[in-house]
Assembly symmetry: C2
Homo-oligomer: 220 residues x 2
């Protein structure tokens, strides 16, 4: 896409994220998104032919991002993926809206399962890599562990949002990882992995310092 | 309460659960609940003076139930509490509506955090009991572990609902427990605890066979 088309698309997604956040999927209207984005109706329909496409566009903005390729320790890369996502939830309104849409129980007709499946695939791939490198306990089934992590993260973030407006999210995510990883990772790896609450902000800083795009490429 | 008042209250809660399920909290109306319950407006307002009270009544129906007092192993009692809740989610529409309301992101003005806090208290109490009996690893902080379990369960059930209409919930909950308990429980206890997928249905059968009330008393 050309630069200008990318900017238009981003303006539409940001406006859509705001409207979905405030109204929920069902009550949101294209008219309100259009007014807020300040683009023509033609431009909006060019990028997103329907409300469903708009919502899926927002959901995809939070999907399966990887913080950095090629960390030596695959488990640390998995941890960094999780804590970066938590950090982006706190700092990026489009990511926040995407997660909220994926969990919007009133969003009938929207394929909300796709987001969970994509995150599970990212997790399973990283866990497969960890297994190849000998970082996992022998009984681990990567797809199953990835499913547990994705489900647990979804609930932990929902409760953090409900109880603290995401203030306690880094502490809760760190707690989740400290409860799950000992069942998955061999002790020497566990001892070397950084699960601290500050890790998410640090990963984001490293990305910014390295001049990476604010939205790193999805795993393919 | 007299028998008749109890029946009326139950009819109202069942009707309210259905309407909240179909419409979500925000779009649900007292008129529709009234029509479905087949009770007088006076009776409804006597039990539940507002829509918020109705929703909190439904939420409380799924709160912190314990399957049975006095199991020898406190960790098994914790597991049974979790798997019974999962079983009730699949079989009891009021429980299902209560969980959904507690996670309804559009339910502004509703105290949704209370449900999470009550479940966390139930979990922390059972984990304290497990600690007194020597069933836990020494580093465990019961309130923190209870918070992780409540958050993780909320997400696992939401994804199971979204992807399979709760068909895979027993498998997912068993997987969650198998990923978290090894970080919490000493190995001999772990070896003796039943975490199988069939446990929830079995616990419910035992309760029914023992002639227990369908809604066992909350922990006090």
């Amino acid at each position: 896409m050309q630069d200008r088309a990318i900017l238009t698309r981003q303006a539409i997604l940001t406006a859509a994220a705001g409207v979905f956040e405030e109204r929920g999927y069902r009550a949101a209207t294209i008219s309100e998104i259009l007014a807020r984005a300040g683009v023509t109706r033609g431009a909006l329909y060019f990028h997103f032919p329907s409300k469903e496409d708009l919502a899926e566009g927002v959901i995809r903005e939070q999907d399966g991002r990887l913080p950095a390729a090629g960390r030596q320790c695959a488990v640390q890369q998995l941890v960094d993926t999780v804590v970066l996502h938590a950090h982006r939830l706190r700092t990026d309104p489009v990511v926040r809206a995407g997660v909220r849409l994926a969990l919007d129980q009133q969003a009938e007709g929207l394929d909300r399962g796709g987001s969970f499946r994509r995150w599970r695939e990212v997790g399973a791939e990283l866990l497969e890599l960890a297994r190849e490198r000998g970082e996992l306990l022998p009984h681990v089934v990567p797809a199953e562990t990835a499913g547990v992590l994705v489900g647990a993260f979804a609930g932990v973030q929902a409760i953090s949002r409900s109880l603290s407006g995401y203030q306690d999210l880094p502490r809760r995510v760190s707690g989740l990882l400290r409860h799950v990883l000992p069942s998955v990772v061999i002790p020497p790896v566990l001892a070397s992995v950084d699960l601290s609450e500050a890790r998410g902000a640090w990963v984001q800083e490293q990305l910014t310092a390295a001049g990476a795009a604010p939205n790193p490429a999805p795993l393919t």
